[in-house]
C-alpha cells in the first residue's frame, strides 16, 4: 500500500534517475551479477562485462520501464501488460531473482543518493519495486 506522499517520492526519485538511466541500470545489473553469480545464467546471449554496450543498453531499458511504472503506479497491471507477458512466456525467470535485482537497485540508489536515501525513501522504493515485480511475475502460472 502506497501513501500519496510515497507515490510522489517514488516519481520524484525515478525522474532524477532517468537522465542517468544507463549508469544506474548497468550498475544495478553488475552488482547483481557480481553478488549473485547464478543470475548470469539468464544473460548468455549478451556481453555483460563491466562497461559493455549491452550492459548499458539493457540497464537503460530497465530503468526506463521502472520510471514508466512510477508514473503509472495506479495502473501497473495495464502499463506493464506487455512486459508481464514477456517475462512469463519468454524469459521465464525464476521469481526469486526479482528480489535479488530489486536489492541491487536499492544498493545502487543508496550509493548514488547517500543520506538522501532516507529510510522513508528506501521503504517507498522497496514497496514500489515489490509491486512492480509482482506484476511482472503475475502471469507465471
Amino acid at each position: 500500500m502506497l501513501s500519496k506522499t510515497e507515490k510522489e517520492l517514488i516519481v520524484h526519485i525515478w525522474e532524477k534517475m532517468l537522465p542517468v538511466a544507463e549508469d544506474i541500470g548497468s550498475e544495478a545489473l553488475l552488482r547483481m551479477f557480481t553478488t549473485f553469480p547464478k543470475t548470469k545464467t539468464y544473460f548468455n546471449h549478451l556481453d555483460i562485462s563491466p562497461g559493455s554496450q549491452h550492459l548499458r543498453c539493457h540497464g537503460k531499458k530497465i530503468i526506463q520501464a521502472l520510471a514508466e511504472g512510477a508514473r503509472n503506479i495506479s495502473t501497473l497491471t495495464t502499463t506493464l501488460a506487455h512486459l508481464s507477458r514477456f517475462h512469463a512466456y519468454q524469459l521465464r525467470i525464476h521469481p526469486t531473482n526479482f528480489k535479488l535485482f530489486n536489492h541491487c537497485i536499492l544498493v545502487t540508489l543508496a550509493c548514488k543518493m547517500g543520506d538522501n536515501f532516507t529510510p522513508v525513501a528506501h521503504a517507498a522504493i522497496d514497496k514500489f519495486l515489490s509491486a512492480f515485480s509482482a506484476v511482472l511475475a503475475e502471469k507465471f502460472r
Binding site: T35, H103, L106, A110, C111, M113, G114
Partner: protein
C-alpha cells in the same frame, strides 16, 4: 567457508570505515521502518509509531550498537563464525523467538547503510564480499533453530 585474501581485505576495509556508534542504530532503525513487522520483537522499546520516533528512540540506538558489536566479533573470528555465534543462535531461537527470515532483512538494511556512507567506493566486488560475510553470519545465527 573459504575466504579469499581479497574478500578478507574488503571486509576488513568496510569494518575499518564503519562508525559502529552510527551504523548500528541506522541499520536497526531502517529495518524497523522499511519492514515494520520486525517491530514485533521490540515491544518493550517504547515509541515506534512513526519513522521519526524510531530514529530518535534511544533503546533502538542502544540495541543497534549491540548488534554491530556482535558483527565485529564475527569479523574477528571469520574462520569460525559458526561456533562464535552458537550461543547467540540459541538466544535468538529459544529466548527471543525471532523468525530467522528477519535476519536477512537486517543484513540488507546494514548493506544499504554502508552503501549510503561509502558511495561509489562500495564497488560491486566489495558488495559481493560483504554480502557473503553477512550470509555466513545469518546462517550461523539460524544454525541452532530446530
Amino acid at each position: 567457508v573459504v575466504w579469499t585474501e581479497q574478500e578478507r581485505a574488503f571486509i576488513q576495509e568496510i569494518f575499518g570505515k564503519l562508525n559502529y556508534e552510527e551504523a548500528g542504530p541506522k541499520a536497526l532503525s531502517r529495518v524497523l521502518i522499511v519492514y515494520p513487522w520486525t517491530q514485533r520483537y521490540f515491544g518493550s522499546f517504547g515509541n515506534l509509531c512513526n519513522s521519526e520516533a524510531i530514529i530518535k528512540n534511544p533503546k533502538v540506538a542502544a540495541h543497534g550498537k549491540v548488534v554491530l558489536r556482535g558483527l565485529d566479533r564475527a569479523m574477528k573470528n571469520m574462520d569460525d563464525i559458526k561456533n562464535t555465534y552458537k550461543e547467540l543462535s540459541v538466544l535468538h531461537s529459544e529466548k527471543l523467538h525471532v523468525d530467522p527470515d528477519n535476519f536477512k532483512l537486517l543484513a540488507d538494511c546494514l548493506t544499504i547503510v554502508i552503501a549510503t556512507s561509502m558511495g561509489t567506493s562500495f564497488t560491486p566486488e566489495k558488495q559481493a564480499a560483504w554480502q557473503k560475510f553477512l550470509a555466513v553470519v545469518v546462517s550461523a545465527l539460524c544454525r541452532q533453530y530446530y
